[in-house]
């Protein structure tokens, strides 16, 4: 992929990151990279979900009655 395309993609990623506030989504956008952008984003999303699943089973403050 030529440099101008990579520059464009960087610009799009930057603009998209500015559009979202959610940290998980920002991480996914950041993971977008060639040659397999979908795979990269899926791997990042896998990581995010597994982190949530495997984090210590704590009762959040909000769930305390």
């Amino acid at each position: 992929m030529r440099q101008s395309s990579l520059d464009k993609i960087q610009e799009y990623k930057k603009e998209l990151r500015e559009l979202v506030t959610d940290p998980a989504l920002r991480k996914i956008i950041e993971a977008y990279s060639f040659p397999n952008p979908v795979d990269q984003m899926e791997t990042e999303l896998d990581k995010i979900l597994l982190e949530i699943l495997n984090e210590e089973n704590k009762e959040s403050n909000s769930s305390r009655l």
């Binding site: 030529r2 979202v20 959610d22 989504l25 977008y32 899926e42 999303l45 979900l49 909000s62 009655l65």
Partner: protein, 841 residues
């Protein structure tokens, strides 16, 4: 900006045998030929050389297999390799030969100046640039296709493929993403719960919130609902849970007041059991055992202590009467006295070792107590796990349970019964090994108290420990095997009891509270997945806005600029009016669509593509391609335009010539124009007379391929007439004289090549002639030497005219040059007549 100098094709598409290279003019080359004479093979050969694929095949998408084998000319000898070779003039003026050979697998093998290469040096830069080809089939594909395909082609055309790809990638993420197996299993584990809440109308609010990812609201709703059931102002979740369980228990007790529970061992419990067994085994086989055996060893030398006492007593007596035995009075020698002394010391040393025997015994006894305590605690924990289930093991309870399950759920009851029997049997087995182990512990304990330690006792204890640990494993496995089925049966029982007691909602609330931590996790995961879907929408909006800006503003403006130039005065007012990204009623841009707008007498047409005539669509397609090709810095300085005037009348065809002219003069393009329309090509040559480009005519098509003949840009008579008319003008300027000089050069070259052909039959490319070659050709054609020398001198003068800013030959000299041309023309005509006559005779 690379320009193309020549093209040679062999064995590719319509080309079979090797032909002379097609030489291109640096401004305009025209190639005329009837349909199916091989014009398109020229553009395809060049396209294939540059990109390794032709757009016709590339655009075929799913039907590529239909085109397999179509690159190779069917008549081309099998033992030869088809190739396309082009000479390009680079930015620095150097010439580079690019050659592509067609491989058996349809791929291209590339060579630069004879050296094999994997790719062209400029390939990466050019991949997203508009291709320097304006092809009719491509134009039709662009417009006469469904809006979604048009969107894809347009984004490619306007160089925004990355944006379209970006959108595709995010769509793929949001629609095709599968969470990891662990996450998917986790989410699936809530499917039963979801169904149950859904079936309870009073918990509708909770169900609605369950479907969303806001756990706080969901949990607050549960809290409100729970508190309304308890009627108490409780704060702690566990307290509320206990209260709910109590309420439910009271309600269902009249139907069945026992619990059906068999929990398998948790990871924590498993770890505890493992620690216990490891401790017991290690203690009994290593540390404790060796200490106990050491104790036996010490006990065996207890008699030494008695002997030491006896000897010490004797020794004390010996001090009083050193010459006789202290016990019998028998006289002693000095040797005997020394021996007694020595023996006494030795026994005293042995005695010191046995002094702490009792202390050691007490220490081991205390270790045994600790070991016994841990053993008994471990056993109690193990058996307690099955207590609840086994508490059902009475005739009354089982009868009651069978009744509650009813005939419909008898299999569940049988499962419970089997589990009870199985677990009870394993528990009894475990208890038996426990009792034996306790007996062995007692024996060891007793031996320590009575100082009757034996190796057999400690060995027995180790053996029964091992057996007991093996029974623990069997017991655990039995519990695990039945835990799942008991859990299912328990859920069925809960449902039955809830149904009978009307406590479904209470049960549901209990389950929600019990699973609150996991529900929170679920909500977080669902939230992330939901936001990923939302992200796709945000990306779509972002991409659409960017594309809309490019299409509505940049593309529409530049295309309209070219389209307006093709319009004629007599055109009906039905025209292309711009591009647009269609929007929904709410104003959102529809995904991946580009609409082509047209107006009829100021009224917007519903469908431009179906309303515009074919010639208008051609004009539009041409305008789009041109607009796109000239924007930015293209890798290539040339543009191949294939049959641009299809379906166009004379008026519009003339406008296209003006556009070609503009591309050359204003945009600096090298244009290669192919057309079936000989009349239009003639008109183009006439309109672009001053360019003096190159013109080829494909005269026929045979098995060998297209018969391409070099034609004259302007007829000799026409050129001579023009020069005469110029020379008759008063006040010729230097620039005019330079133009006349160029006309002379072309006239001399073309006439010399024709004379040579007429006289000798040899074909010569007039463009290849310089002054020296021209002179040689004239001599070869047997032209009078005086005339030959004059033409040589004139040719030398006019050939340099365009380099000389101060070219200012007197008009009289130019008239002389004209005479030479006229003389050559006369020779040519006479030769042709002569040839005709000799043919007849």
């Amino acid at each position: 900006m690379k320009r193309i100098k020549s093209l040679t094709v062999q064995g590719f598409r319509g080309f079979n045998k090797l032909q002379e290279p097609i030489e291109f003019h640096d401004k305009l080359t025209l190639i005329s030929g009837q349909n199916s004479y091989g014009k398109t093979s020229i553009s395809e050969a060049l396209e294939w050389l540059l990109y390794g694929i032709t757009s016709k095949i590339e655009d075929a998408s799913d039907n590529k297999s239909e085109y397999l084998g179509s690159y190779r000319n069917i008549h081309f000898p099998e033992d030869q390799t088809p190739f396309v070779e082009a000479v390009f003039v680079m930015d620095d003026g150097s010439e580079v030969v690019y050659r592509g050979e067609l491989q058996a697998d349809e791929t291209i093998q590339r060579y630069i100046n004879g050296q094999k290469v994997d790719n062209w040096t400029w390939a990466i830069d050019a991949i997203n640039d508009p291709r320097p080809f304006i092809l009719q089939h491509a134009l039709k594909n662009l417009l006469l296709t469904k809006p979604s395909d048009r969107y894809q082609r347009f984004t490619k055309l306007i160089g925004e493929e990355e944006l379209a790809d970006l959108q595709d990638h995010f769509i793929s993420l949001s629609t095709k993403y599968d969470p990891p197996r662990e996450v998917a299993n986790f989410l699936n584990s809530f499917s039963g719960l979801e169904e149950k809440i859904k079936s309870l109308p009073n918990l509708e609010k909770i169900f609605k919130l369950y479907q969303k990812s806001d756990f706080d609201k969901f949990f607050a709703a549960i809290k409100t609902e729970c508190l309304s059931r308890t009627g108490k102002s409780l704060v702690d979740t566990d307290e509320i849970l206990a209260e709910l369980k109590n309420l439910r228990g009271l309600s269902v007790a009249k139907y069945f007041d026992q619990q059906l529970v068999l929990e398998s061992f948790s990871d924590e419990e498993e770890k505890l059991i493992l620690d216990d067994t490891n401790f017991l085994i290690n203690s009994i086989t290593d540390e404790f055992s060796s200490e106990y055996l050491g104790l036996i060893k010490l006990a065996t030398i207890q008699h030494i202590i008695d002997r030491a006492k006896f000897l010490n007593h004797g020794l004390a007596e010996l001090l009083n009467k050193p010459k006789e035995c202290p016990f019998c009075g028998h006289p002693l020698t000095e040797n005997e006295t020394t021996k007694i002394q020595h023996e006494c010391n030795r026994v005293n040393e042995e005695e010191s070792k046995t002094k702490n025997l009792q202390a050691r015994r007490e220490e081991i006894n205390s270790k045994l107590k600790a070991l016994r305590k841990r053993f008994e605690q471990g056993y109690s924990r193990l058996v307690a796990k099955s207590d609840t289930l086994l508490s059902l093991d009475t005739q009354d309870v089982l009868q009651k349970l069978e009744m509650v399950f009813g005939v419909e759920n008898k299999t569940h009851f049988d499962t419970v019964k089997n589990a009870i029997e199985d677990v009870r049997s394993r528990k009894e087995m475990l208890n038996s090994s426990y009792q034996i182990t306790v007996g062995c512990l007692d024996d060891v304990d007793d031996s320590l108290v009575k100082s009757t330690e034996t190796p057999e006792k400690i060995k027995n204890l180790a053996d029964v420990f091992v057996k007991h640990i093996s029974d623990i494993d069997v017991y655990k496995k039995t519990m695990k095997d039945h835990a799942k089925t008991i859990s299912v049966a328990s859920k069925v029982l809960t449902n039955i009891l809830d149904l009978q007691a009307g406590t479904q909602e209470l049960s549901m609330l209990i389950e929600l509270l019990e699973r609150r931590v996991m529900l929170n996790k679920r909500a977080v995961i669902i939230g992330v997945l939901g936001r990923v879907k939302e992200l796709q929408k945000q990306v779509k909006e972002y991409v659409s806005n960017k594309i809309e800006n490019t299409v509505n503003v940049d593309l529409t403006r530049s295309v309209l600029n070219w389209y307006e130039r093709i319009k004629t005065e007599g055109d009906p007012d039905v025209h292309f009016n711009g591009f647009e990204l269609p929007k929904t009623k709410s104003g959102a841009i529809k995904s991946r669509q580009i609409a082509v707008n047209a107006k009829s007498y100021n009224k917007l047409l519903p469908s431009a593509v179906s309303s515009l005539s074919e010639s208008k669509l051609n004009a539009l397609g041409l305008s789009i391609s041109i607009a796109n090709n000239i924007k930015g810095n293209s890798t290539f300085g040339f543009l191949v335009i294939d049959d641009p005037v299809q379906s166009m009348d004379t008026g519009h065809s003339i406008q296209i010539i003006n556009i070609i002219r503009s591309l050359i003069d204003d945009e600096g393009k090298q244009v290669i124009l192919l057309s079936h329309n000989a009349e239009w090509i003639r008109e183009t040559r006439k309109s672009c007379r001053s360019i003096n480009g190159k013109y080829y005519e494909i005269e026929s098509y045979t098995l060998d391929g297209p018969a391409i003949q070099r034609g004259m840009w302007a007829a000799v008579d026409e050129r001579i007439a023009e020069v005469k008319s110029f020379l008759n003008k008063p006040g010729l300027k230097r620039l005019d004289k330079q133009k006349i000089a160029e006309e002379f050069r072309l006239l001399y070259n073309e006439l010399a090549a024709d004379i040579c052909k007429a006289k000798t039959g040899n074909l010569v490319n007039p463009d290849s002639l310089n002054s020296i070659k021209l002179r040689a050709l004239l001599i070869q054609s047997d032209i009078d030497s005086t005339l030959t020398d004059s033409i040589f001198a004139a040719h030398t003068s006019v050939s340099n005219a365009h380099h000389e800013t101060a070219y200012d030959e007197p008009v009289q000299t130019l008239r002389e040059y004209l005479k030479f041309a006229e003389q050559m023309k006369l020779i040519l005509e006479e030769t042709r007549i002569k040839n005709k006559t000799s043919k007849k005779t």
